[in-house]
């Protein structure tokens, strides 16, 4: 008899409930059980960062977490970043500065940047590069992503003030 577990969590402000095996990865739970396919799976060993979500407010790799570990957690995925249809400053900045091409790493970049800017709202370029070094991008060469994050940081600081 295969052990099944109940997983109850909040994703992007909405309560969800599902049943899965303990081995079901959080990334697969989000994508398959909850049909939230914005979070991408690029490597399944925690190296590429495309699967990064916010878990209780902190960026974490969903491909190396079991869904059952997120029982009771508050998750934010890329689908939840925009508030009420209005793009978040990070999303606007990525758009303005051409910070995405194929879009596959973009969930990881946005979530990682979101977490990072909360921790360091006024970063230098090299701090941004270092913060994003855990998300692999094959298309952009990173330069415009860095520009976008710096621009978003500026906007966000202004909005906070």
């Amino acid at each position: 008899m295969t052990q099944m577990v109940d997983v109850r969590l909040t994703v992007n402000g909405k309560a969800y409930e599902g049943r899965c095996e303990p081995r079901t990865l959080l990334a697969d739970f989000l994508r398959d059980n909850l049909s939230l396919t914005g979070t991408h799976v690029g490597c399944e060993h925690g190296a590429c960062g495309a699967c990064t979500i916010l878990h209780n407010g902190e960026a974490a790799r969903s491909c190396i977490m079991f869904a059952v570990q997120a029982d009771g957690a508050d998750i934010l995925t890329i689908e939840g970043i925009a508030e009420g249809g209005a793009l978040h400053p990070l999303q606007s900045a990525f758009h303005e500065h051409h910070g995405l091409q194929c879009g596959f790493c973009t969930p990881g970049m946005l979530i990682t940047a979101l977490d990072f800017l909360r921790v360091n709202p006024s970063p230098s370029v090299s701090e941004v590069r270092e913060a994003l070094s855990g998300v692999l991008c094959r298309c952009t060469g990173y330069q415009n992503i860095v520009k976008a994050v710096m621009a978003a940081a500026k906007t966000m600081r202004r909005e906070q003030a």
């Binding site: 081995r23 490597c43 060993h45 590429c48 969930p107 094959r138 990173y142 415009n144």
Partner: protein, 788 residues
């Protein structure tokens, strides 16, 4: 021929329409598709490089929980005829000019007689979930008779070597020669000669999205749909038609959002044919999403060439003769045939003027993952050989590498320049436009000038610091044929609809072509509807490889629009009761020149074009407002660039830091400057990855040692510098809009730029860097006291 689009959209950095869905997490990649009742496929892949298959026992797997179907190579042979030759044929114009010999082993959809590389698929399992399918895959028993791995292509050519494809009795599956002038004589007479071996190692595209195929068979209509993360949907449909024995008209192939391709998704893989076959067998949707571990051992690799070069030159560093004998290690199969190797051959001369040139190329099979084009597709290897040679010539004569290049470069007043050898389309290569010396000069100026650098370098050496300057110049044939298709149609709403066989993978095609169409029809980009990468939108298409889509699709759009405009004007003239010559396009309408308000909207013209009673067409004119055009380019158009970098190396640890990296680049008329910059930045970083970090490594038995991102190192945001871009604009005379291709170019130079820079930095240690990747350990060898 370039159209100055003063008030137009071409030339403007229009933000991308693709962004919103991707930024909101509402993109649709193949893995995002969901169908009820889906079966999930797992391929069982060989863990041995070379072996005869005695049996593949699936009995335990078949009985595993959730398993619906199992299939091995031997079973498949009973179900399907052998795979026919799938390679694109070489044009007769080429085959009659170039001395060549090619053998074309056809990879079966599942290996059945032998396995020929670690990762080759021997069986497929379908189950209710990927998890269950992987459980079942562990229960498969392979009975293999191991054979020696074949990993060294030179050893593979020696008599007595084990042979990968028994029926050929050789591992040499391709060979050709091209030449111009008298290389032997010129070498013999040259005042100076040098000889070197250059090795450009094996690395590859490694996009962030792995491959994936989902297929649904509709039993009622006997039609099948194949969604694949793919660059060539029409080619896939053609192959599927043969394998499934179905008319193309019953097969629909679609590529949705594709998470990067860079060439690795530019041909048809066995999985892409097997999955639809299984969907039809099972009468349930079948889904296969490649995982990363699989990707490293079954998605094609690239590069991997050994060049033995001999160059003859004079006292001034002028190249007199260049002879290159190279081996391309193509792995176990050769899906793209001669494409990469021939690209290498014709790109060797680069932007330089010399009369005596000869290339001998050999393509060798080894028990490794097959090779396919990856951004640059043979050009990086060629540029490496020539650009290292330029630096070595300078070194021998005590000249500056920049001066040697400038002396050898084709001057601007000799353009267009006829090279004297044919491109792979069979046409004579003519570098059609550009100013190579100026590009190099601009790159040198951008790094502060050579003299200034040399002074800094000398001072730094005195302080025990090692700075180096590296250059890499290339030319690139882009926009290759044979064709691309476009259907242009005026929708009844007045929007302009364009369908094409081009397949985007992140380049922003929906945006750039909406700009091109907007200018052609004087509408806004938002009023353009693009249908790409879908065989049901257009019946004949080529696909996106080889830096071709901007050139070929834009031209197809241009010519289709020209023809369609004539028809639209004729109908509008009929509606407005004037002559077509009195009319012009303006803001979504067609109106009388000089009479604002006297116009009809495109929507009304489209409606008037409809068949039926009371239509608005002139007498005798066929209904409809749609035109399909197949643009067949006369030949490739030549973009080029000069890359320059200043590096500093720490000889004690081997750490390399890039102080400055500059790219001076021409791609003709630019559609969207922001997107072009994105392409150049992305390609440069991929090139740097190949130069310094990325490597597919095999042991002597053919075991793949790099099977994860822990081993195959991609460059990250903290590994690469900002790249400064300078643009030149020499419009192409070969197509109506003056475009040149830009997708691949910037990946071509970085490996040789780094090799040249490090060799320059470590010149006091008399170290040469003639192979890639350049690892810290090699640099750190400079500070070892041991004699070299």
């Amino acid at each position: 021929m370039a159209q100055g689009q003063g008030n137009g959209y071409v030339g403007r950095s229009v933000p991308r329409r693709e962004d919103r869905r991707l930024l909101m997490g509402r993109g649709q990649f193949v893995a995002d598709l969901k169908f009820p009742d889906t079966l999930h496929a797992v391929f069982v892949r060989s863990q041995v490089a070379h072996a005869r298959i005695r049996s593949v026992d699936l009995s335990r797997a078949a009985a595993a929980p959730g398993v619906a179907y199992v299939l091995n190579g031997a079973d498949l042979v009973q179900l399907l005829p052998p795979v026919p030759d799938t390679q694109l044929p070489l044009p007769r114009k080429w085959t009659t000019q170039v001395q060549h010999r090619f053998l074309n082993p056809q990879q079966p959809l599942l290996a059945h007689d032998k396995v020929r590389h670690v990762g080759e698929a021997v069986a497929v399992i379908l189950a209710e979930s990927r998890y269950l399918a992987e459980d079942a895959a562990e229960l498969v028993t392979l009975d293999l008779e191991p054979l020696p791995g074949i990993v060294d292509p030179e050893a593979a050519l020696k008599p007595g070597s084990p042979v990968l494809h028994d029926k050929y009795n050789t591992n040499l599956i391709g060979e050709f020669r091209i030449a111009k002038g008298d290389v032997e004589g010129a070498l013999a007479r040259a005042p100076h000669r040098l000889r070197r071996r250059f090795h450009h190692h094996r690395y590859g595209a490694v996009p962030m999205e792995c491959r994936g195929v989902v297929s649904v068979y509709d039993e009622r209509a006997d039609t099948i749909t194949i969604w694949s993360s793919c660059q060539v949907v029409h080619w896939l449909r053609r192959e599927a038609s043969t394998v499934l024995n179905m008319p193309e008209a019953r097969i629909r192939c679609v590529a949705l959002d594709v998470g990067g391709g860079f060439g690795v998704k530019g041909h048809v893989y066995p999985e892409e044919l097997l999955i639809p076959f299984l969907a039809r067998v099972m009468k349930r949707p079948v889904r296969w999403i490649e995982d990363r571990h699989e990707h490293f051992m079954s998605a094609c690799h690239s590069r991997d060439q050994i060049h033995d070069v001999e160059a003859g030159f004079d006292d001034d560093g002028r190249l007199l003769a260049f002879r290159d004998s190279f081996i391309a290690d193509c792995g176990a199969w050769n899906p793209i045939g001669s494409g990469i190797a021939y690209n290498t051959a014709v790109h060797l001369p680069g932007p330089y003027k010399f009369d005596n040139f000869a290339v001998h190329a050999r393509i060798v099979t080894t028990s490794k993952v097959p090779n396919a084009p990856y951004r640059g597709a043979g050009r990086p290897e060629a540029t490496f050989a020539m650009e290292r040679t330029m630096d070595l010539i300078a070194g021998e004569l005590g000249l500056d590498p920049a001066d040697v290049r400038l002396r050898n470069m084709i001057p601007h007043n000799e353009m267009p320049y006829r090279l004297g050898i044919p491109y792979r389309d069979g046409e004579a290569i003519v570098y059609d436009s550009g100013d190579y010396p100026k590009a190099l000069q601009q790159a040198l100026d951008a790094i502060g000038g050579v003299a200034t650098f040399r002074a800094r370098q000398k001072k730094a050496r005195g302080e025990g610091r090692y700075l180096g300057l590296g250059l890499g110049c290339y030319v690139e044939g882009t926009g290759v044929g044979p064709f691309e298709s476009a259907t242009v149609r005026i929708d009844p709403t007045g929007k302009v609809y364009v369908a094409s066989g081009a397949c985007p993978q992140g380049q922003g095609m929906e945006t750039i072509f909406s700009q091109v169409v907007a200018d052609a029809w004087k509408v806004k980009p938002d009023d353009v509807v693009m249908a790409l990468a879908d065989t049901s939108a257009i019946s004949i298409g080529f696909g996106t490889i080889a830096s071709r889509s901007t050139v070929t699709l834009s031209s197809a759009i241009h010519y289709a629009s020209e023809i369609l405009r004539e028809k639209a004007f004729a109908i509008a003239a009929n509606m407005l009761e004037c002559a077509p010559g009195d009319l012009e396009l303006r803001s979504g309408a067609i109106g009388v020149v000089g009479v604002p308000g006297n116009e009809v909207t495109l929507a009304s013209v489209a409606k008037a074009a409809r068949p039926g009673w009371d239509h608005g067409r002139p007498q005798g004119m066929q209904a409809g407002l749609e035109e399909t055009y197949y643009y067949e380019p006369p030949t490739v158009t030549w973009s080029y660039a000069s890359h320059a970098a200043i590096v500093e190396v720490d000889v004690r640890t081997g750490r390399l830091s890039i102080e400055k990296y500059v790219v001076v680049h021409d791609c003709g008329v630019v559609v969207n400057p922001m997107l072009v910059e994105g392409q150049i930045l992305g390609g440069t970083v991929q090139g740097l990855g190949g130069a310094l970090l990325e490597e597919f490594a095999y042991d002597s038995e053919g075991q793949l040692l790099t099977g994860s991102f822990m081993d195959y190192l991609l460059p990250t945001a903290s590994d690469v510098p900002d790249v400064e871009l300078i643009h030149q604009h020499y419009p192409s005379p070969l197509n109506p809009l003056g475009f040149k291709g830009v997708g691949e170019g910037s990946a071509i130079s970085p490996p040789v730029v780094i090799a040249n820079a490090v060799s320059d930095a470590l010149a006091p240690f008399k170290m040469e860097f003639n192979s890639t990747p350049i690892r810290p350990e090699q640099i750190a060898a400079a500070s070892l006291p041991a004699p070299r």
